[in-house]
Amino acid sequence: MPAPRLAFLLLAGLCLDSARGATDRFAKFVTNLYRPRQAEQVVLSPDGEHIAFTRHTSGEPSTAFSPDNDRITDYRNEHGELSIYIMAVGRTEKKFKIAVEDDRPVAFSKEKRPARLRFLAWSSPTRLVFAPTSYATPAGTIASIFAVNLDGSEPKTLAVAANFSLLDPNANKPIDRTTQIVGFLRGHREKLLVQALGRRRFPPVAAVPTTLFSIDVVTGEQKALTEEPEFALYFPDRTGDLRLLYTHPDLERTRSFRLKTPGFWNRWVDLDEARGGPAAKAFTVTPENYFGERAFPLGFDANPDLLYYASNVGRDTYGIYALDLRTRQRTTFAIEDPHVDLAFIEPGAGSPLHFDEHTGALVGVRAAGAKPVTRWIDPELAALQLTLDRKFPHRNVEILQWDQARRRFPLRVGGGPAPGRYYVFQQIENVLVELLRTAPWLHPDDLHPTTAFEFDTPSGVHLTGYLTFPRRPRINPPPLLIDFSDGVLGSAESSFQSQAQVLAELGFIVARVNHRGRSGFGLAHRNAFRDGGARVPVDDALAAIKWIADHHPIDRKRIATFGRGLGGYLALRALQLEPDVFRCAVPTDAPLSPELWLQPPPRADLGRGSDVSAALSSSSSDSSPTASQDGPLGPLRRPPPINLAQETQRAFFLGGSAKLTPVASHAETLTEPVMLILNVADTDIIAIQNASLRSKLTALGHPPEFLHVAAGTADLPDVRVKTFRQIGEFFNLNLYNFGVKVGTPKPVK
């Protein structure tokens, strides 16, 4: 039998060579995919003449603030830095660059992590306000806010962390407070509202209060507008008043929203009490209703008596409504979608409300879903959206902003093979001005095309998702990889995903399915998992495989699974439940026994992008909404100070009729190759569960591949390349290997 053996060796050699021989190319491809994108934030000046955007640069001359704020100095950073560029829109003019911050050091690593902005806005046609994300150093918290004119004049450090700290009388030392930049005071763009968030402390020590500050962006003068002593998450209205709070009690499983009633004593009343109607208790949050039917506030209108809220009471998906606080009645305002939740499940986690920054009026609602769309209330913008959609077929066009005269509209255009581009639509001239590409280093010819798909399964489930096709498949037809991504409760997939690009580079058609159990598609879609367990997403994956095979050539003998967190659990369960369909699995940080994982000590994170993790992050920091880069091994978040998130997960996962079968309890059914990847500490329950599975599989005679990445380093470029390369080698040996018996393909049920 020399011939088959020779064939195998040659093929394996080719595949490995293609992975190794392309070392530089592959490393460059992966690194480029995960490079910080340009223009994570883009803002148009109120007169529409200039645009400011962020960019990571290295070694380019720029302008930097001198320590005394009095002058601009020439500056050149060879090691990578976050910069802001200011450029003219209506004419070609030299760009002005402001160096904001060096890339940040990472513990125990030579590599650095890029700095990001948390706030960027024009306070006037000529003055720009910006603030990098805050972070803690041994010397203290860094949380500065700056302002500068567009020509670099009048630089000003508006505030530093010390401006928001309080003196602890007990310990006689300052208490730093995390800050959240709210925006400009309505009608006064020169006043920046900053909320210094309070903190829980155990009795008898009083909680650290929450204070709302106003900062003059020209003089830097800072003024406390209002302060609330109770620990909670506060929502200011546009007049600079902390009008609404989201309670965070220590010892109760119930949270509520309270509204400040006008009067001398500022009495706080429960929002349920402030609202009449049949669903009067909809605003109360419990672990049991968190993923069920309820309502939560989104924010105030320019009219401070009008509160917008999201609700799925009596319906499948979250719609958006308004409450007149004077009459305590719901208004006629209602925006609903039968298939997509129009709001994230946690207040503050990326509001879908889109206000006109010049008039303060609500003009639209941004919905995620399979394809992000904006439901414009403003008819002019609705018409413009239609016009722009025609200009960019097969793309997602997002109108980001507009100038006061509504002549110029910055657009983010995504959904193509590359991450996206920014344009300004000039309405008078009826032309597009392309200002920048988010990743100019990625050439469309190098990227793997991605298309959206949707179909109804025979059982009537509407499934959506994305397919990424390899430009250079290693075999034809190419193998298929089902990426369960973050798994259950994760939010909708986005069209461009770096990880899907890397997996396609390895030769796969990559399918990312918004399977049941994911959030954003209504109650029934999410809660199907509660009663069906892992079988439900696996069935959805099978339906997707059938649909894909009906429409595209795929190698039905070579289908792999992939996933992170609970997505990793699903990847393994798919292998166990359908060994005739799936050939191998690569789970990352998979909780192999979810029930145990959900037991104390609390383990909150369900994967990046999940609603719960968003909820936690929103209550603990002011991280940039664009800060979450996709990746296979992103860092897990630290446990939150309270356990409601833990309780909501427990209520969701354990409250249904499905049993979450531990992977290891049926280890003998894992007969196909597995690669376990961990990015957590050895003591983490996930690491312990993975170690147990490794032992069992080794004892059964088919030890898994194993890769342990030091906790918190998975997003460093070198580590990421190394990880993907090892994943590629695993597939080379276990999927592309023609010497391995692949079994007889069977029709998918």
């Binding site: 793309r395 392309e434 469309p444």
Partner: protein
């Protein structure tokens, strides 16, 4: 005369330099009157006229034999390379030879003061009713000073073309000759099936940027919408890029309608059309230039769609926009090489002394083409041009000139001069002599149709016998080149007024001609009306629907939509 000379373009342009000259020469003061050359006087009869017939052009030259040879050789070369850059099947062809008059500027007076004085004197007489007066009483300089005879000009008729060039023999440099862009545009615009406007503009501009006579053929770095944008893009690919969406770039109404007519948009559209053509011809980007030509052929018959683009380039409109945007900084910074086929041996030609009839026919043809131009632009000077043309023809007639082409030219001259009774005999004589000149047949048919329909109600129907004298010359014209849409339209108008149904063969012939004139606003509408008249309502709806896809002009679209609505309405039952 010395005052005029500096205005002569340094670069000599082949066939149709007039427009170029108008663009390139510094604009004279306001209200300068640019007249066609009118300098062929008999004062220099001592210099012989030379005649050359080569390829599709007849030359009449008063330059030296050497300069004439060099000029014509260069003409053949540059026209060959034009067809190398743009395949000949995309350029209009005609079976009627073009006319080229070449005069040495040293021996001529491009501003014949005596002639001009007479013309100005006539033009300054009291204005008859209906003629636009010159408001020159209080203006400076005087009318006499404001008149300028163009040194180069190209004039077109429906089925032919003529050009006139003054040449300075002492410093003539043939390597500076190019095919005039407006001539390239004209060749593209007259091609049948008709090409979309974006392709015409794109190819014309690209040809302007192409160097084909010094070293390897290449497209030089282009410019973008302003000097600042061009320099900015050359200095940094991160410069702003002003663009149109590809849906708009390829749209039939790209520049039609109030939202589409901003000057910035117009210039972006033109430059982006050229950018697309350049990108498509650049082998680094696509699968070869053949793809563009296949697409061009397709979109001459079908409206451009995203599906067609994907079929040929594998890219959707949004993808293409991104590719063009990424290509733009390169296009303004670097040259792009073109792989042209080696130049074959040029056609041989012989220079002979021109006969009196050749001189009269070619001069007469040029002078007759001046008449519509002067009527349109400077009607005050028209009588002199008419007189001049008539004089040229009548001298030759007196000498016994009866050549069919000569008769055709003379008949068309009288027709353009407005003297139908004088025109008709010559036109009919030319027709009887089976002249190859579609316009002659069309004009005779038109005049016969006018005569038949005169003094009859608009809805008067005619018998086939009555229409036969009209249709017969039209059939002859249809068999000749170039195909003229008005010939078909007149035939359809005739059949629309016929008492009898249109013969199937005739209708089929008209239907088959429709793809040639998809972008002609009246063609499909007439055809649909004829189909309706013959009971082919479904076919008529299809004709209108297809025609609508090629139309951008709102009023034309409205007429088509009305006709479609009429078809959709239930037919009245008797």
């Amino acid at each position: 005369m010395n005052a005029i000379l500096p205005r002569l373009p340094v670069l000599l342009l082949a066939l149709g330099a007039g427009a170029w000259a108008a663009e390139s020469v510094p604009r004279p003061p306001d209200r300068i009157i640019e007249l066609p050359p009118m300098t062929i006087t008999d004062t220099i009869d001592a210099v012989p006229w030379l005649y050359v017939s080569v390829g599709d052009t007849e030359f009449l030259s008063r330059c030296s034999r050497e300069i004439t040879r060099e000029f014509i050789t260069t003409q053949l070369e540059i026209h060959h390379t034009l067809r190398d850059v743009i395949p000949p099947e995309f350029l209009a062809t005609t079976a009627i030879p073009r006319v080229f008059l070449l005069l040495p500027i040293e021996h001529s007076n491009i501003r014949d003061d005596a002639v001009l004085r007479a013309m100005v004197a006539d033009a300054s007489r009291p204005t008859p009713r209906g003629v636009i007066p010159f408001d020159d009483k209080h203006s400076k300089p005087s009318l006499f000073e404001r008149v300028l005879f163009l040194p180069n000009q190209r004039l077109e008729d429906r089925d032919t073309m003529a050009a006139f060039t003054f040449l300075k023999e002492s410093n003539f440099a043939s390597d500076r000759m190019i095919v005039a862009p407006d001539y390239v545009r004209s060749l593209l615009a007259r091609r049948t099936p008709m090409l979309p406007q974006w392709l015409i503009e794109g190819l014309t501009l690209l040809y302007q940027q192409t160097i084909i006579r010094a070293g390897p053929a290449a497209v030089v770095p282009g410019n973008w919408i302003s000097p600042e944008d061009t320099v900015g893009l050359r200095n940094s690919p991160d410069n702003r890029r002003v663009l149109l969406s590809c849906e708009e770039l390829f749209a039939v109404d790209a520049l039609i309608g109030p939202d589409h007519q901003h000057p910035t948009r117009e210039i972006v559209w033109r430059l982006q059309a050229a950018l697309f053509v350049r990108w498509a011809l650049d082998h680094a980007n696509t699968r070869g230039s053949d793809v563009l030509w296949k697409l061009a052929d397709r979109v001459s018959r079908e409206p451009m769609t995203e599906k067609i683009l994907i079929e040929y380039f594998g890219l959707g409109y949004s993808d293409l926009l991104e590719r063009l945007s990424d290509y733009l900084p390169n296009a303004v910074k670097y040259s792009a090489g073109l792989s042209l086929k080696p130049t074959p041996d040029l056609l041989l030609f012989e220079i002979t002394p021109a006969t009196k009839f050749q001189i009269a026919r070619l001069r007469g043809e040029w002078e007759r083409l001046e008449i519509p131009f002067v009527r349109a632009h400077h009607p005050k000077f028209l009588p002199h041009y008419i007189d001049r043309a008539r004089l040229t023809f009548r001298r030759a007639i007196a000498l016994g000139g009866r050549d069919p082409q000569f008769l055709a030219s003379f008949g068309l001259c009288e027709l353009d001069a407005g003297d139908i009774p004088a025109a008709l005999p010559s036109l009919e004589a030319a027709m009887a002599a089976k002249v190859f000149r579609p316009r002659v047949y069309f004009e005779v048919a038109r005049l016969r149709m006018d005569a038949l329909a005169r003094h009859t109600p608009k809805d008067q129907q005619f018998s086939p016998g009555q229409l036969q004298p009209i249709l017969e010359p039209l059939h002859t014209a249809i068999g000749q080149s170039p195909p003229l849409p008005e010939v078909y339209i007149l035939a359809m108008d005739a059949w629309l007024r016929c008492q009898e149904p249109t013969p199937p063969g005739e209708l089929t012939m008209l239907v088959e001609a429709a793809p040639l004139f998809r972008r002609h606003p009246g063609f499909a509408l007439r055809l649909a009306l004829l189909q309706i008249k013959n009971g082919q309502r479904t076919a008529a709806a299809a004709t209108l629907t297809t025609g609508l896809q090629f139309l951008g002009e709102p009023s034309a679209r409205s007429r088509y939509q009305q006709a479609l609505a009429g078809l959709a309405a239930p037919t009245a039952t008797p």
